[in-house]
């Protein structure tokens, strides 16, 4: 899976959890909770959706690595074992 595919699938999960997020306006570098109403329950649902989608066991200690969309994509690149072929 390429980074672009991981990004698109992560964004899809994010929008399922928080449908009010505007994907075009979302700054991928800034923590999601600093941009939208995104509380701990939303975050938990997002993490559960990611774990299911990518067959991951995300330990609680990794939660700080899932705060922004870019952090999340980087995390997925590291943990899905499928590196971007171009990198």
């Amino acid at each position: 899976m390429t980074e672009a595919e991981l990004r698109s699938r992560a964004l899809e999960k994010l929008l399922q959890v928080a449908p009010d997020i505007d994907p075009d306006a979302l700054d991928p570098q800034v923590p999601i909770r600093d941009q939208y109403d995104f509380d701990s329950m939303d975050f938990l649902n997002f993490a559960i959706a990611l774990a299911k989608e990518f067959q991951l066991n995300i330990p609680e200690s990794d939660y700080p690595h899932l705060q922004s969309l870019q952090d999340t994509v980087d995390y997925l690149v590291r943990h899905t074992g499928e590196q971007d072929v171009s990198s």
Partner: protein, 379 residues
């Protein structure tokens, strides 16, 4: 023939727009079945019926706005014999009221003398709500998806504005009628966070707990020691309840909040509470809360820690007796065994009704919550 009426879904609701019937004439239903969905300023609510019987006639069509207490349908109840005490029957006859129109609040829904008086008196809550409602020529408030509803009168507000108005009405009533007193204490959360970390490390993601669940359980258990925080103040009397149905304030996307209840929290395991809490938050935001969840809360818990707020000064949601507020978990220097230590702490605050309790009891209540949170493994 019995009447199925639109129930009140909280002190801040005056009317609702009927959206969908799940039954039609001739359909049988049992106690607790969801029969109709209505839209309020809190979103779509599924309304249960608390009787068993057969639908006779639907009286209100979808997309009609109706006040609290309006008859939505007629049905034939399975209980052939009406449960009413002889004294209540006599009183109803004296007052010229047909007992069929009275909602019973006694054992098994039996009609008591108080129910008859409530149905007759101008002070009855449902009558009050009906009077407060100003009928208009057209109650149609259909909102087509994707199109802005055009307000045709002051009462036809956008959902968010309608909710703001309703919250304001309930809180104005609270500030006017309830003699609040306020207490606050700082609770050491280090033990809770440590326990939670170990507990969650062994669990797959969907089975992990959030600390809010431990706060809710601690509040429920503390109510056993100080029960006069749990219940209602209605008709000049305090009614203390044994079961802790805790309403949790859930903020909605796009503004506003809704306070549905988690039932029997004192009896729920932490796992069950987590499942129920998660389900409640999702339905509060996605629609389909149940009417019962908005009706029977005996106390409210509000947690505003997510925004970094340290202390909440809450207002009681009438007719409840108390509300507990939690701020965010903050690292503070505390004296532990005479030494300064950095500990994770949370500020817990209480607003309670002086007609039902005093500051001494309120203080005991907060102290008990604190004590329970120092032994998270026992929650």
């Amino acid at each position: 023939m019995s009447e199925f009426r639109l129930p009140s879904l909280g002190a801040d609701m005056e009317d609702a727009t009927l959206r969908e019937w799940f039954v039609k004439p001739g359909d049988k239903f049992k106690k607790g079945d969801i029969v109709v969905a209505v839209e309020t300023n809190k979103g779509i609510i599924d309304v249960e019926i608390y009787d068993a019987g057969t639908i006779e006639k639907i009286l209100v069509e979808p997309d009609t706005r109706v006040p609290v207490g309006a008859v939505l349908a007629n049905y034939v109840s399975d209980s052939t014999r009406m449960r009413i005490s002889p004294a209540a029957r006599r009183r109803a006859r004296e007052l010229g009221i047909d007992p069929v129109n009275i909602r019973g609040t006694g054992a098994d829904g039996a009609i008591t003398v108080e129910d008859v008086l409530a149905a007759a008196g101008p002070a009855a809550p449902s009558a009050e709500a009906t009077q407060a409602y100003k009928p208009e020529s057209s109650q149609e408030t259909r909102r087509e998806p994707g199109r802005e509803a055009k307000p045709s009168s002051a009462t036809e507000l956008e959902p968010a504005a309608g909710m703001r108005q309703a919250i304001a009405a309930a809180m104005t009533r609270a500030n006017k009628e309830i003699p609040h007193y306020y207490l606050s204490t700082s609770i050491d959360m280090t033990a809770v966070l440590h326990w939670l970390e170990q507990h969650n490390a062994r669990r797959p993601l969907p089975e992990r707990l959030v600390y809010a669940v431990l706060l809710l359980k601690a509040v429920a258990l503390a109510l056993r020691k100080v029960p006069e925080m749990n219940g209602f103040f209605t008709n000049g009397e305090t009614q203390v309840h044994a079961a802790a149905h805790i309403a949790v304030a859930i903020s909605l996307r796009g503004g506003g909040l809704v306070v549905p209840a988690l039932r029997d929290v004192q009896m729920s395991s932490l796992d069950k509470l987590m499942t129920d809490f998660s389900d409640l938050v999702n339905r509060a935001r996605g629609g389909h809360l149940r009417a019962s969840e908005l009706q029977d809360a005996t106390i409210t818990v509000t947690s505003l820690g997510e925004q970094g707020v340290e202390t909440v000064f809450p207002i009681i949601y009438p007719p409840q007796l108390a509300i507990v507020g939690f701020g965010s978990i903050v690292e503070r220097v505390r004296a532990v065994d005479g030494e300064p230590r950095v500990r994770s702490t949370i500020n817990a605050s209480l607003a309670a009704d002086h007609r039902a309790s005093d500051g001494h009891r309120g203080g005991l209540f907060l102290a008990e919550i604190d004590r329970l949170l120092q032994e998270p493994e026992k929650l």
